[in-house]
Every structure is written in structure tokens, then in C-alpha cells.
Symmetry: C2
Subunit: 392 residues, 2 copies
DNA sequence: ACTCTTAATTTCCGCCGTCAATAAAAGAAG
DNA sequence: CTTCTTTTATTGACGGCGGAAATTAAGAGT
């Protein structure tokens, strides 16, 4: 496993081919004509681009003909053969790593997690290698090649360079993770920020499909935000963007570890909610689960803490909507376990603080199973595989 | 003038040609090799694209050879011949219209303004036609054709459709201004939101040249913001974006006409500052000029009002920086007359509220002469002329 | 005069994507 | 059963864009 095996490459050199494939990938089975229409190309171009993709096994003609609605030659839709290739996505948190094996359509086949005994690059790399090894074995049993590995890390990540610039959780600076992981696993590696990875998954396989402007807001220990503008994920000039967690909601609010007061995260982050409940109720809740339970029991102080959190989140989302005018905001995150406790407040605060037509922005809530972060990492690997060099 | 004259079109059909021209336009005289490098094209492609542009008179070989630094065949830089074509930009405010005649390099040749007696579409159209007529006469004296008219209006504008969706100041809804103005002036017309127009001017001819991610913040009666992400001006899904003026800075702050409290505009807008000074000092200041003077005289209350305003603006800018990670923020606007009164607070509040590497964002201040808004409108006309159909 | 160096141009070529015509695959009509 | 209609897919010719490499251009130094 120490040698980099000859990586299989995707047979789509031209921008049109890669765009056509992406269209089919995101929009399920489509006839060639429909693909041409959506991609703004001629039918001839689609036919020509599709052939090599079918020959290589990445696309298949959909055998089952679901609807035979109309006159004329029957349509012959094509779809991506998810089983053609597998990808591995790994999310590294402060104390564990989560890995998934997905197919080309980013459907999870196997999910694993393991504790993270050691946070320094060497230790993390060993854990990643072990987990990847397990998943590779599982892939081998399926007889399908694994064509890429995506790693998601919170913090400041330069995806293009494959370098973790700064990760507070891991206490890393300038770690060339892609290079290191490629050397140990022999796979092509993509490294990206975790929220951006999740955003990529939504853009290609989730609620962001077909939208050129949307945002993903994650609610949990921290409050994160991934942005898609002009059809591309926003990375920011310094590699950091979407810091909604430290948008000030109330300058008189509780102090935040960032040094300010009343950041969204200082009100609606897990720790902030728990602290607030302790302070107002005197009950010694220690973690989020206990906080949620207390609120569900009807405790006024706990409910109020969640209401405040919801309001802060709603205001944060309204800020995003005011500034960018996205078509949709997808709210997700572990914090959604408490969804019923603040959904209403989020919506209310958003509506109140959204200015003008920004209020027309569609708010969607999506559950976030714990493997979802790792799935996002896999999505970045799929993306890198499909458009090896070219952008968007 | 009632018939639409045969519009001259720009001889650059291919994306490469238009990109090459834009590069030369923004980056002054460049040798063909340098253009090729910057545009990511081969020198051959540049030579081929440049020739018809020179023949049509849009580009010229720079006669004066400024530096002859090196060995080898002397470089033969090309630049845009600003005098080849003229454009008109018009900014419509609530009570006057401002018009400029610019050359192809967006340098102002003539500036005029006129009161706006009537705000309904018909009246505005008449005023625009009259002002345009004057500028066309001036252009005729120069013997240079006018190839486009840009109109900037505050509010919700659909540039592609040429329709003003909603303008609170003018009390317009769904006015097809581009079509109407084209019919009366006979010129190709571009209509855009005023802040976005200003942003286009900065992107092509100002402090945003060469940057793919930056923001323009305007300080004046209102607080506005134009955003460029991935090299393109953000328009938002509903045609509205950059509403920094109604980002909440302090939920306990003064009420805003939008229905919330403590919006940036409710603290740092002209009217808000004047009101604040009246309330805290008791002095009956009536307008911004008086407020500035009072502050410059050292009045504590007035100075404090400006300090608060600066803090609010700084926080607003930090929010933009946190969310988008722009490379630069350009602060401009009529409010900069009071620049010395709050520049420091803007910077301090920004630094305090910017999270992590967002603080590395470059803050620049630019004066905003009153014709600048109209110049922005002219910039949109130039942009439309250069890339008639294709995007970016 | 010759060489060295860098800029610009020319020529040729590959290749992508469109156009327009054609084939394919049904059901409908007679 | 044949022919027509309708819609999808394919084919082949064509045009044009942009790149690679060779060539020309225009000096400076020796």
C-alpha cells in the first residue's frame, strides 16, 4: 500500500463532457435531449460525449423504461452507474474519525468510526490509514475499485494545495495532509474544510442541486456556514469564508472565545446553550442531551435558552440572506436534535430580520446523520475525480 | 432621435477576444506577451485577437516607449483608445439626475446634473432624455459616437431584463426602463442597481481591478454594499444582494424604518447621525453638513455620534469579511466627507469583529465625487457593449 | 557584420461543438 | 399490413478557436 498505484482517470477532457456528466449525476436519469437542453449544448455534442462515458462504464442506459408517455421514438435515458467506482470520505474531529465508503453517486455503502487517540499529524495519519484500509477491504469484497479519498477537517484548509493551514481543534499549522495521506494510502487525496465539503455534497447530491446561489448552515458545537455563489463554493481570498458563527447578534450578549460578545456561536453553540441553562435554572446540566431533555420536559429556563439560540441563528441566517440573496438556505447539523425547540424562533427571527425580497429565500431543514460529514468528504473526492484539472 | 439607430457592435465574438480586451482595458498598456500571460492564453491567440481590435480602432499600439529596460526586440504595448467611443451614464436619485459622458476607459469628459421635477416613469424618462440629449450634443462636438447609455437606480433592478422591479425612492414597480429609454434615446440601454453599477466601475476601472473577491461599501444617506465573488458581481437570486444597511448591529439600538432595531443604517445613516446628535446635544442640527461642522468643532456629543456610526460600519464590514473572505473592502460614499470623524472607529471595530484571517482583508477608502454614481452607470454600459451576449 | 535576446507573427494542425440531414423506433391512421 | 407522424438519437461535414513550433522582427552589445 505504500506505492501510489496507477490512478484510473476520468475519460472527460473537455469542459462539455464534464458538464454533461455532472448534469446526469445530479439530475438522475435524463434523455440525451434533456441533457442537451439543461447543459445548453447541442444534442449532437451530448451523443458524442456520452459514448465514451458509457464505454468506460460510468454511464449506463436506463434499461427500465418508466414512463412511455408520448409519441415518437422512445427516449433512452442515461444515468450514472453508481456501482462503477467507489470513494472514501473521512471526517476528522477532535476525538474521533468517521469514514464512509460511497459509490459514484455518493450513496453510503459502509460507514465506520474510530476513536482518535492522537491529534498530531502522525497519529491522525495512522488512524486515517487504518480506517481507509478497512474500507478498502470492504471495497475489495465488492470488487469495485476505490478511486479517491476525501478528508474533511475543520479550520482553514487550502483545498487546491491540499494543505491544512490552521486547525484549532487539531492544533495543526501548515500540514500538507493531501500529500501525506496520498503517500500512505496510495489514493488520490482531496482535503477540504468540513463545512465546505458538506456544501459540495448538498450542491451535487442534496438540496442544492440545480441552484447557483445557496447557503448551508450547520448548527452544533459551532455554527458554520457554507456558501455557493455563481454556482461555485466560496472559499474566500484567505481560504476562509462562511464564518457565520462569529457574526455579532448582540453586542451586550455573552462573551465568546473569539474575544467579542454576542456572537451567534456564543448564544447558539452547544456549550453556550448548556451554560445558559445552568445559569438561569441552576440545574447542573452537563451536556447537550441533558439540555434537550430538560427543555422537552417543559423547563422554562431551558426552553428560553433554546428560544434565544433559535433567534440568534435566525438573525445570522437573515444576515447571510441580506448580503447574498441566496435562493435557499439549508439548515443542518447535530444541533437539529433540538430542532423542535427552536425551529419556530429561527423562522421568526429570520423573517423579522430579512430585508425586502431576501425574505423570499427558502429555508429548508435537513437532518444530519453522523456520517454526513464524512459523506461530504467523499463528495469532494468525487468532484476532484470528475474534473481533475478544470474548474467548476 | 425617435428611431433606434443602427448600433455599432464590438468586434469580439469569442470569449478570448473579449477577455483580452478587458485585460488591456483594466491593466493599462500591456505587451501582447504580458496579455497572454495574464489571460492564460498563448501569444498567438493574443496577436490574432488584437489585430481586428486595432483595425476597428478600439486598441492602439502605444507610440511612446516609456521604458526600454532590457535586451531583445522592443516591446510594443497596446492600450485601449479611450477616445474611440463614448458612453453616457445617468444616475437617478429622488430629486435630481446626474449624467456623465465618459470615454471607453470610463474617464469622465462631461458631467451635468439637473433637478428631477417628476418622479413617475414618464417624467424621469423625459429628464433622462433631455440630459442625454445635452450629452449627445457634447459628444457630437467631439466627433465621437456614443455607443451606449447606462442608467443606475437604487432598489431592486433586473439588469438582464432591463426592468426596475421595485424602487422605494421613485415608488416604481416593474418599470421596463431599458426598453423605454432605448425607444426615446435610440441608444442601447443598460439599467442596473446603483451600488452594483459602482461596483462594476471599481471592478473594471478602480480599486477592484484584478481582484476576484472584493466588496464596495457606500456610506451616505443609506449604507450599501456591492459584492464581487468569483470575479462576478453578485446579484442575488431575487435580484437583491449586499443589503448591509439592514444588518443588525445592536438589537437594543435605535429603531430603523425597516421595522427592526439597531441596523447599520439606523446608526450610521446620515439621518440617524443627525438625529442622534440632536438627541444627545440638544443642538438643532438639521443636515449632515451642520453635523459634520459641529463634530469638527469638537462637540463631544457629535463626535460620539460619529464614533458610534464608525463602529457600526466597521462591524458591518467585518460581517461581510467573515462571511465572504474578500481580498479587499473599498469604503466609499458621500459620507466620507466625515471620513476623519470615524475612520479610526471603522478600522477598530472591523479588527475587533473580524474573525481569524478575515482580519487580513485590506480596507481601502476612496473618495466619491458626486458624478461617481453616474460613472458607475457608464461602466455598466461599457460592460454591456464589450460583452454583448456572453457572460463574465 | 555577427550574435544574443526577447517580442511578435505566421503557418499548420487538432479538436470541439454546431448544423443539417438522416436513421431509428415506436404509435396512429388508413 | 403499410404508410405516416412524431420524437429521439446519430452521423458526417464544416467552421472556427486556440495551441505548438518555427520564423521573422528589432534592437543591443561586441
Amino acid at each position: 500500500m505504500s506505492s501510489t498505484r496507477r490512478a484510473e482517470t476520468f475519460p472527460a477532457n473537455t469542459p462539455a463532457a464534464s458538464q454533461i456528466f455532472t448534469t446526469v449525476l445530479s439530475h438522475g436519469p435524463l434523455t440525451r435531449l434533456e441533457v442537451a437542453r439543461r447543459a445548453g449544448l447541442s444534442p449532437a455534442a451530448v451523443t458524442k460525449a456520452v459514448r465514451p462515458l458509457i464505454e468506460a462504464g460510468y454511464l449506463v442506459e436506463d434499461a427500465d423504461e418508466p414512463a412511455r408517455p408520448a409519441l415518437g421514438r422512445p427516449a433512452n435515458p442515461v444515468r450514472v452507474d453508481g456501482g462503477r467506482a467507489l470513494f472514501i470520505g473521512v471526517k476528522v474531529t477532535g476525538d474521533e474519525i468517521i469514514g464512509v465508503l460511497t459509490d459514484l453517486c455518493c450513496r453510503i455503502r459502509v460507514a465506520r468510526h474510530a476513536p482518535l487517540p492522537d491529534r498530531d499529524p502522525k497519529g491522525v495519519l495512522a488512524s486515517v490509514a487504518e480506517l481507509t484500509g478497512e474500507l478498502l477491504t470492504a471495497a475489495g469484497d465488492l470488487g469495485v475499485p476505490v478511486l479517491g479519498l476525501g478528508i474533511a477537517v475543520s479550520g482553514d484548509v487550502d483545498r487546491g494545495a491540499g494543505v491544512v493551514r490552521y486547525s484549532p481543534f487539531l492544533e495543526w499549522r501548515e500540514v500538507p495532509l493531501a500529500e501525506l495521506a496520498a503517500a500512505t494510502t496510495g489514493l488520490p487525496v482531496t482535503v477540504d474544510n468540513d463545512v465546505r465539503a458538506l456544501t459540495v455534497a448538498e450542491q451535487w447530491f442534496g438540496a442544492g442541486v440545480g441552484l447557483s446561489d445557496f447557503a448551508v448552515v450547520t448548527v452544533g458545537a459551532g455554527i458554520g456556514c457554507g456558501l455557493v455563489v455563481h454556482g461555485r463554493v466560496v472559499a474566500g481570498a484567505q481560504g476562509v469564508a462562511g464564518e457565520i458563527g462569529h457574526v455579532t447578534v448582540d453586542p451586550a450578549g455573552p462573551p465568546c472565545h473569539c474575544g467579542n460578545r454576542g456572537c451567534v456561536e456564543a448564544i447558539a453553540g452547544d456549550a453556550a446553550i448548556v451554560r445558559r441553562i445552568r445559569e438561569t435554572t441552576g440545574v447542573e446540566v452537563t451536556d447537550t442531551a441533558a439540555a434537550v431533555e430538560l427543555a422537552h420536559q417543559g423547563d422554562t429556563g431551558a426552553r428560553e435558552a433554546y428560544a434565544r439560540a433559535g433567534e440568534a441563528i435566525g438573525r445570522g441566517i437573515a444576515t447571510v440572506a441580506n448580503l447574498l440573496g441566496p435562493e435557499r438556505v439549508i439548515i443542518s447539523g447535530e444541533g437539529l436534535a433540538a430542532h423542535d425547540l427552536f425551529a419556530e424562533q429561527i423562522r421568526e427571527a429570520f423573517t423579522a430580520a430579512a430585508f425586502g425580497s431576501a425574505a423570499q429565500c427558502d429555508l429548508q431543514t435537513r437532518p444530519l446523520p453522523f456520517e454526513e460529514w464524512a459523506r461530504g468528504a467523499a463528495a469532494t473526492a468525487i468532484q476532484s475525480f470528475i474534473r481533475a484539472d478544470q474548474q467548476q
